[in-house]
């Protein structure tokens, strides 16, 4: 086996994160398509908020469909809720839109990304935006209760 200085160094640097990450543990097979949705502005009931959807794919496709499912009682102020086009391997496609949100509560916003092949094959991914709940101080989150069972810790969840 042979090694060459500069190239070797670059490869080693490039692999550095994997040295820690791999550690002889096989992560489950990675999905080729990834999608996320996140707000770019503050989100509050009754207000307008900008959201950005990001899609990446390790596979190139001529037919990527990004779809935002518009929640009831919202109004699209600008941008598009669906986009169709191509994507190259490791390219990032972004979709921005501004929604007027209902006054009662911020609804969940679901997004999906689908890449199609000419033969009808399909790969998809989805994500959901939900506003973190700010609970009134009087509201108690029901958590599991930890008890001991023969010296081992058991966390009990009461069923309703």
């Amino acid at each position: 086996m042979r090694r060459k200085g500069v190239t070797t160094i670059l490869i080693l640097l490039g692999c550095w994160t994997q040295v820690v990450f791999a550690d002889s543990i096989a992560i489950k097979a990675a999905t080729p398509v990834q999608i996320s949705i996140a707000p770019e502005t503050s989100v509050s009931p009754g207000g307008a908020a900008t959201f950005v959807v990001r899609v990446t794919s390790s596979l190139a496709s001529d037919h990527l469909v990004i779809n935002v499912i518009q929640p009831p009682a919202t109004e699209l102020l600008s941008g598009e809720l669906q986009w169709t086009g191509d994507i190259q391997a490791d390219q990032v496609r972004e979709l921005r839109f501004v929604l007027r949100l209902p006054a009662a509560a911020v609804p969940a916003i679901e997004v999906t990304a689908t890449i199609h092949s000419a033969s009808g094959g399909q790969l998809a991914a989805s994500d959901v935006y939900r506003q973190p709940l700010a609970l009134p101080s009087a509201v108690k989150i029901l958590q599991g209760r930890t008890v001991s069972r023969n010296g081992r810790a058991v966390v009990e969840y009461p069923l309703k």
Binding site: R2, A29, Q122, A125, P132, V155, P158
Partner: protein, 564 residues
């Protein structure tokens, strides 16, 4: 359409067992069906019922919205009093049914996400703090029939699906294994992506494996994203890694891998291929033995592997018929021993042809834990040859399964080329207009290194480029030039004419695994620039490198070409 019952901990009916109950002092008022639990003093109780969990059905496109209640099998069940003392304990049967009798105040029923050895192995589902999951329900006064339905939406629904999938897996393995598997611990927490989905094989505690050995399952995050507790195929895949850890040899370097890659480390493709095969094998067995326990839609082949992201399928592939349309360039990438999907398909083919027992026997015996052999498809093939003394029709059928995925553990068309004796065959030289490279298989069934020798004519002072190209199946070639007497040749500059990896190839040394030596067409190929000091007949010899990368194989496919 939803199947089954929707209510959690639904009380089906109350019955007074007057003969059994001394009607101990009851405090508080009575309660009706579905009413509030009342406080009461010490009672002697005998209860029975059925424990079920709500499972999600999935198709090739992800979860289809159907759910169905299934029995919580072989789970440990306690009757617990107000002081947290266990009044009685038992284990649910194969139908999720149980009976308990005991005495105490303000009793509650507790079902642990833990199976008893009656399931063939003790399986325990923990949260990220190491606590064992349990579902509880308080008992009403005089309640004797207590059925628990654990909804998918409850905090512990996922834990009981994992318990059931691992229980089915254990039942499957017990069909073939000589002894029960040791205990399995799984770690998961709803709405937590603190850890991903993987199996930790060692006893080291820390990093990605805070609780040491066990299966770690992605719980997702609040609001969406990927989670795996209802992805049965993913769970079965990880269980296969657990089986590897306790039964077979396991030396996969791990790390990130994509299903469409076909240049991976052979140890990784074997391990992941085994993991990809296991769901198909278990589901095929379940379809025959326990079809009611399957979570798959009726119209979906059992060889599908589905990993959902949200409610839709992020990865969905029929391992028995992988669609190449998502391969780079549209060419079938699910080929070679360096493709995990190819390994899956080969194992499915062998299961269909020879049965699961044949596969298990090779794996559990020839590739047993502690074996020094690399755990690869090559080793599995060798085991098949050694243990089954395969020949005739079986060998032909075996080859057909491997060849269909372009894996060639067999002699090539140029054999009888291991020695110079009688070697007269000449390779045609390439020129600017044409090049006829010849394809060789590095394979020899006596386990000594295969040698591929061929003659070529060279003229003093002219330059010749000898190279191995189009490597596949883990080939790592070593090339050298010999003269007619079999001696190694030096060129006109005094350079020894031998090469392992062509100039510019990067070898990662101590970072061999993480640096990912790829079994692609050229990384481990060889190249010689030869300017002969005298004209005559020379021989080029190609073998597997004696210094081969751990990621590569002893066998493999390459093409040889010489260009003037």
């Amino acid at each position: 359409m939803k199947h089954g019952r929707q209510l959690s901990a639904r009380v089906i009916r109350f019955t007074l067992l007057l003969a059994l109950l001394p009607l101990a002092a009851c405090s508080g008022g009575g309660s009706g069906e579905g009413g509030n639990v009342s406080s009461y003093g010490v009672q002697a109780r005998q209860i029975s019922g059925t424990i079920q969990y709500e499972d999600k059905e999935y198709s090739a496109y992800g979860f289809n919205g159907n759910t169905r209640f299934k029995p919580v099998r072989f789970a440990m069940i306690d009757l617990v009093d107000a002081d947290n003392s266990i009044v009685a304990t038992t284990v649910s049967d194969d139908s999720g049914q149980y009976t308990l009798a005991g005495e105490g105040a303000n009793l509650r029923l507790r079902v642990l996400a833990q199976t008893d050895a009656a399931a063939g192995a003790a399986i325990t589902i923990h949260d990220h703090d190491g606590n064992i999951y349990a579902a509880t329900a308080a008992l009403e006064i005089d309640q004797t029939l207590v059925d628990l339905d654990i909804a998918a939406s409850s905090e512990v629904g996922g834990a009981f699906n994992m318990l059931d999938v691992f229980t089915s897996s254990t039942e499957f393995v017990n069909q073939f294994a000589n002894a029960p598997l040791p205990g399995l611990n799984a770690f998961w927490q709803a709405d937590s992506n603190r850890y991903g989905t993987y199996y930790c094989p060692g006893n080291y505690r820390g990093g990605m494996c805070p609780h040491g050995k066990g299966i770690y399952i992605l719980g997702g995050r609040s609001g969406g994203g990927d989670s795996d507790h209802y992805d049965d195929d993913v769970l079965l895949h990880e269980y296969a890694h657990y089986v590897e850890g306790v039964v077979g040899a396991q030396d996969s370097p791990g790390g990130v891998h994509y299903l469409t890659e076909n240049d991976q480390d052979l140890r990784l493709t074997w391990s992941e291929g085994l993991g990809g095969f296991f769901p198909a094998a278990v589901k095929t067995w379940m379809a025959r033995q326990r079809p009611e326990l399957l979570s798959t839609a009726a119209d979906m082949p059992l060889t599908y592997f589905v990993d959902t992201y949200g409610s839709t399928a992020g990865i969905s592939i029929d391992m028995a018929s992988p669609n190449p349309h998502f391969c780079p360039g549209g060419r079938d990438c699910f080929v070679y021993s360096s493709s995990e999907v190819a390994v899956v398909k080969i194992l499915i083919g062998l299961m269909n042809e020879f049965g699961m027992q044949a596969i298990w026997d090779i794996y559990a015996n020839y590739m047993a834990r502690g074996t020094a052999l690399p755990a690869t498809l090559e080793t599995f093939w060798d085991g098949w040859m050694v243990q089954r003394a395969t020949g005739g029709e079986e060998l032909a059928a075996l080859r057909a399964v491997f060849n269909e995925r372009q894996v060639f553990y067999q002699h090539d068309g140029f054999e009888a080329d291991n020695t110079l004796t009688g070697m007269t065959r000449m390779i045609a030289l390439c020129n600017a207009d044409a090049c006829e490279s010849e394809q060789h298989y590095l394979y020899y069934n006596s386990y000594s290194a295969d040698k591929d020798l061929v003659a070529f004519e060279a003229v003093k002072g002219r330059g010749y480029l000898l190279e191995t190209v189009d490597l596949s199946n883990g080939a790592d070639t070593y090339i050298r030039i010999l003269d007619a007497a079999g001696r190694q040749v030096f060129d006109s500059y005094g350079q020894l004419m031998a090469n392992d990896n062509r100039p510019g190839t990067v070898y990662c040394g101590m970072y061999d695994n993480p640096c990912r030596i790829h079994n692609n067409s050229d990384m481990l190929s060889s190249e010689l620039n030869f300017v002969p000091g005298k004209s005559g007949t020379y021989y080029v010899e190609v073998t597997t490198s004696s210094n081969k990368a751990a990621a590569a194989g002893r066998y493999g496919v390459y093409s040889l070409q010489i260009t003037e």
